[in-house]
Amino acid sequence: MNTKRFVVSGAGVLALGLLISQSAVPPQGALMAATPQAAVTASTAAATDAATQRQVLNQFCSGCHGQRAKAAKLDSAVRLTLDDLDLAKVRDHADIWEKVVRKLRAGLMPPTNSRRPDPSTMNSLITWLEGELDRTAVTHLPAPGLHRLNRAEYSNAIRDLLGLEVDAAKFLPPDDSSHGFDNMAGTLTLSPALMEAYLSAAGRISRLALGSETAAKQVVFDVPADTAQNHRVEGLPFGTRGGMLIRYEFPSSGEYTFTVKGVTGYFTRVLGQITGEKLELTIDGERVYLFDWDREIGNTTGFGGTSPKIPIRGGFHTVGVAFLATNDLPGTELNRPFERTMNSPGEIPGYQFYPHVGQVFINGPFTGTPATDTPSRRKIFTCQPQTAQQERDCARAIVSTLAKKAFRRPVRESDLETLMTFYNSGRNEAKSFDGGIQAVVQRILIDPEFLYRSELEPNQAAADSTYRISQLELASRLSFFIWSSIPDDELLNLAAQSRLRDRATLDRQVKRMLADPRAKAFVRNFTGQWLNVRSMEASEPVVDLFPDFDDNLRAAFREEIELFFGSIMQEDRSILELLDADYTFANERLAKHYGIPNIYGPQFRRVTLGPDLDMRRGLLGKGALLTITSQAARTSPVARGKWFLETFLGVSPPDPPPGVETDLSKKNGNAAPLSLRERLEAHRANPVCASCHQIFEPMGIAMENFDAVGRWRTTDEGVRIDPTGVIADGTRLEGIASLRGVTRRYSDQFARVVTERLLTYAMGRGVEDADMPMVRSITRDASKANYRFSSLVMGVVESPGFQMNMKAAAGAPQRAGR
């Protein structure tokens, strides 16, 4: 029997007793804690150990966290006293002990300049506490509950269901996030605005899928104003510069026009003084029109120029708008040309800019006729009726296939009955077979079983008892975890045959899914939120101070992180390589920023980081993360230190108490300017601030050799950077390399943090203290495989949190919190 257990290392006791076995389902009751005998043995041993650990606590902790300190109104003791907590009953204060364990694991306690136990004593304390917490753990598996698709999932589901590329971010309102992610079941609520958007999307998407949308419309595409357009954009023809590449689903066959506007400034004047520019409009790489910029676009105040009507076949095409690179480079009056090639909203006297594309509008179709052959139609029409008699059977076949995919389960007769009513009415109204199918697609897209994921509770089960979710529900959990989309046929069929939960099958499926291109969604959505790369979009370093910062760099930063994380995933490397891997990915723009020579062109490639690029190793050297942890005009060692603490050690410092001065601007009158470090130190003179800031500020200071956009530097405003400092465990930091050393030393804690984030993302609910035994168990197992990426993902997928729910108490609509 291949049984997976959660075992406490060292203690040798069956911990949670949460058995996941594919060969035999244990009765519901057996899912609760350990066997009575094991528990008795353990508790005797625990009593002896408790006394030992109490001594350690008394010796090293009670000075600040004891009754006497509390009587003396010491802040630390007011927040937390440990000497009144019974170590024989760790479970009674599990929330406190989890915090203690977390701080100890992160090396943050005892604080700087306090006496510390030797490493083995410390380790024994932590292991014992964790052992007690795990041994006495209470089953905690609240169901995430009815789970609405978020925007990314909706777009992907449409792609996988109908073969149609849509961007739901353009027509659905944004989703709320909690616990750091926007796929939390409890947070994905519904509003009339969203419902209305779903309804109108259902109509439009169904018509797009059938190629029957023939009414003319205008669609807008923006180029961010700080996009440099002096170089070729990847995907656009060689010999062009700037512009934009649009991937667009043309609703039906017909004539379309394209309106192009330039980037405009203050006075709605089109910017760019260089004349004689030609702008090429291409469809799938073929030129269809050539704009004379000066005559058609440059002379308008922001209205732009419109192409003649161009006939285009309905379906997916790429539209290119780019300048021909035949015109001379801007004048040589520049002392130093900046990477950013346009300064909107104004112009700088003495500088010349090329004109830049600001917006592209696609108008049409004019005189549209339904498309007949598109990827979408090929996907939907699994059969084509040759005679009127065949229509009904063919419709049933198509509807069954669509409904199975959309509802993520085998189709029932009752589903077909409802949907065929819509087929009939659509068929009659439009007097065509297509019209019937279109009506069905439209109806499916608004169905609660499409828009929501649900997991049913067994009726008979008692309140608070645990149960395994069905194999079909498991298929959905897997696909939404790894693909942010609906399961494919293979997953659904395995689930329908009850074979998916089999360990070997599951392992094969997870590996298959991770290798699939759809797993790109995991990289994008998970790293985008875990590392907050999404906020890159909104970061706007002050242009006067960082004139090289442009949207191209912003995009390159994002791409680097995704490729880096993606390589860990695809090559199944250890997640610890995120800390210090000796390679990264760069294109010309990023290489220039990092000072990497000999890399040309907009495409990315793997770059080995030798000794001279040592500072770029691991997450700590990545421009995206260094930029989003900075302010617009300067770095913020406080924000970076806090980010370091949260990302690598899993500890969030509390917010500053109300009313404290957080302004670090230079306010020393006419005296010589203070360095940022000096200003920080002055600020730390305040003991209220110092208690927390001395913990994480040295970490931020160690990153000071990176400026606010992640460039390497040795001075700041003429003052030499001093990146040294001492952290709580006594380690002396000398800059970025030594800080990276810290992440290595605490890599087990990093692995635990990653597991927590993964589990949160995978389950769609927040990980709480009560989940920590599960987190530790997954991490421990993965450590045996050196934290290879797949071992963590498999650990999550096989965990009770992913495969089991707990029935809510009757009458209590209790669900996992928001």
């Binding site: 009815l146 969203l194 009414a215 203050y266 006075f267 004019f366 009415s425 617009a632």
Partner: protein, 448 residues
Amino acid sequence: MFITKKHISRRTILRGAGAALALPFLDAMIPAGSAQSTATKRPLRFVGLFVPHGMAPGWWVPTKEGSGFEYPFCWKPLEPYRDQVVLMTGLHSTSAEPPPGVTGADHWVAAAFLCAEKPKKTAGADVRAGETIDQIIAKKIGRETLLPSMEFAVEDPGANSSNCGEGYSCVYTNTIAWSSPTKPLPMELNPQVVFERMFGDGGSPEERAARRERNLSILDSLGPKIAGLRKEFGPGDRVRLDDYAENIREIERRLEIARNASSVAPENLDVPVGIPQSFDLHIKLQFDLLALAFRADITRVGTLLFARDLTNRTYPESESPRTSFHGGSHHGEDPARIEGFSKINQYHVKMVAYFIDNLRRTNDGDGSLLDHSLVLYGSNMGNPNQHLHYDVPHALIGGANGQLKGDRHLAYPSKTVPTGNLLLSILDFYGIQQESIGDSTGRLEKLV
């Protein structure tokens, strides 16, 4: 007048679509002789219209206070409606002045027009102004309509979202409607998008009607499905399913409104694809849509931004076709250039008059839409040459359900009465009693 007490149900109108189109929709809907048909019961619509860059000094202030004054050049197009027009002079837009010690701000304060609150100087995402009165009013009277409020633009803000100059976010010049101090509402440029929001999408009235009916039948069919799922779900999921069901009902309600409203969409209303290139055509179309939305009770509150601050747009249909708006506003106190600028001001007022005329021609209960509207048109600059924010031009137009006496010029002593006082008094017309708003120091004297 015949009093028939015959109330035509909304559905009847729909079924007899062809015939019903000719009927003034709202009249037919109101049971004759019922309390609803009296003027005071008609909703009081609100419109806020902002124009940047002030007005040409010497060309817009009436020489005489009170009634029967001679209309000055800039306001001339409103003269035919003078019975329902109140011109105000001498008001002070303190909210448009930069806070002490802050530079810039002069041109980045359209957002202050309807809240009288100084926008926070930032080019980042932490924008902050005030809740604007159109939104305060919409929260009170816009709940039952399809759209609580409608926001219109006639000038493309482009892709700009951050710094629009002097460290002020573009959002302050892009919209005059803020649903909260931190939530600016985008203003819609594309009449086609506005039209679809009002009447649904589709290329023809028949297509729109067919799509609406399809949507209604889809929502209808969800009833049994939800009931079935409800039986299977646990108590927690039932709460979320009920939320879904509730939203379905709300959308059904809106579709019913759109279904009824569509009977007043004139078949000859030509809504082009995309954005008209001519300002004249564009703004008239936006005004037509707003008037239509009032008439069909699709909304009761609208705002429109005539231009973005600093625009150098020219108005070929005006009498000064080659003067750019911002360039012309810096007239250098040269009489000839001031005169040129005044022609742009008059042209803008002419566009207001186009809208006012539409409201006056449209029956609404026992009066016209204009009788049941309050339109505020103004700028928060006075003499734009020096960026002065006192002696700013403002006009209130409409009967305000009998609450506003027209044909008046109210002159206030310069630099003493903040525009917040006017906003506070406007809220009074809607029964919204606030202590203060923005820079207000009290109610606006002499208004009522």
